[in-house]
Symmetry: C2
Subunit: 172 residues, 2 copies
């Protein structure tokens, strides 16, 4: 159980992994690029942290390593990390004899998140159906168009879980 906090005297381990992580230009560029993508749904600081944890050679970074790499203040780092933790986009491990937390990207949960996102349609088409239900019969053509659109969303909602399954099967 790595996550158990079982501290040993710090001096026995200190700086063990503290080679200053140095990013190549290519990596920096990728962080910017990914960061922009992630800003769809995340604040900039959090987006760049998420990107950093994918791009960096070293996968498990401490608070201060993240802070330094991205030139963030402590508060920004703290808030962004906690946000990402609460979204399950990252997680952390601890190491025996070391109080620091090592943050890493939570890849496995991403797929879950994606499923959830796909299925968010559900709310949309249900509300749209409500809209259709209260429309007057007189706007026939529009109603037909709307119904078509709703049916389409429902179709997607039915088929997408099947796609997930198909993917799982194709891997075996």
């Amino acid at each position: 159980m790595q996550n158990q906090k079982n501290y040993l005297p710090l001096h026995r381990y200190a700086k063990q992994n503290m080679d200053i992580i140095k990013l190549t230009d290519r990596q920096l560029a990728l962080i910017e690029k990914l960061g922009l993508i992630f800003e769809n749904g995340l604040q900039p600081a959090a987006a760049r942290i998420a990107a950093l944890l994918l791009v960096s050679d070293k996968l498990e970074l401490t608070f201060d390593e993240i802070r330094e790499q991205l030139n963030l203040s402590k508060s920004a780092t703290s808030n962004a990390l906690n946000l990402l933790l609460s979204m399950d986009r990252i997680e952390y491990i601890t190491k025996p004899g070391d109080r620091k937390r090592y943050f890493k990207s939570n890849l496995s949960d991403w797929k879950e998140n994606m499923k959830v996102k796909f299925l968010e349609f559900d709310k949309v088409h249900k509300t749209m159906r409500e809209v259709l239900d209260q429309r007057p019969h007189s706007t026939k053509e529009f109603n037909r168009g709307l119904e078509d659109f709703i049916n389409f969303m429902e179709f997607m909602n039915r088929e997408i879980p099947a796609l997930f399954k198909k993917w799982e099967l194709s891997k075996k």
Copy 2:
């Protein structure tokens, strides 16, 4: 061609469709609900206009009708309408002898928009692939997880167009 501006003296047509549109409580509630959904990607005023144009009995509303129904200022109405127009989420028609524009929801384009949105994945997985390409071999397990995720996104990207086709076929 309804869109041709062929003005006739206003008095011959004035107020023809100017029955004050009155929304039921149910409709107002639906506008709020849909409005919230649309706020994902739209400013509040624009979101509620988009909702109004789906919910209202009357489908083609003028600038002032929209403005009054939603209690917006002229500037907010103008800006929101132009935003929606530029996104192709609404369109307008004109009527002979009438300078006003009649705005309506552009349902057909919505499906297009949805396709585009689905295919936005493309950018994401391409960048992710770049990330994977520059990762050190040493983080084998992580790389495998990342690759799995990328493959999954590529799979989705391949399969979703097929789903669109399947839908089109199922309608015939």
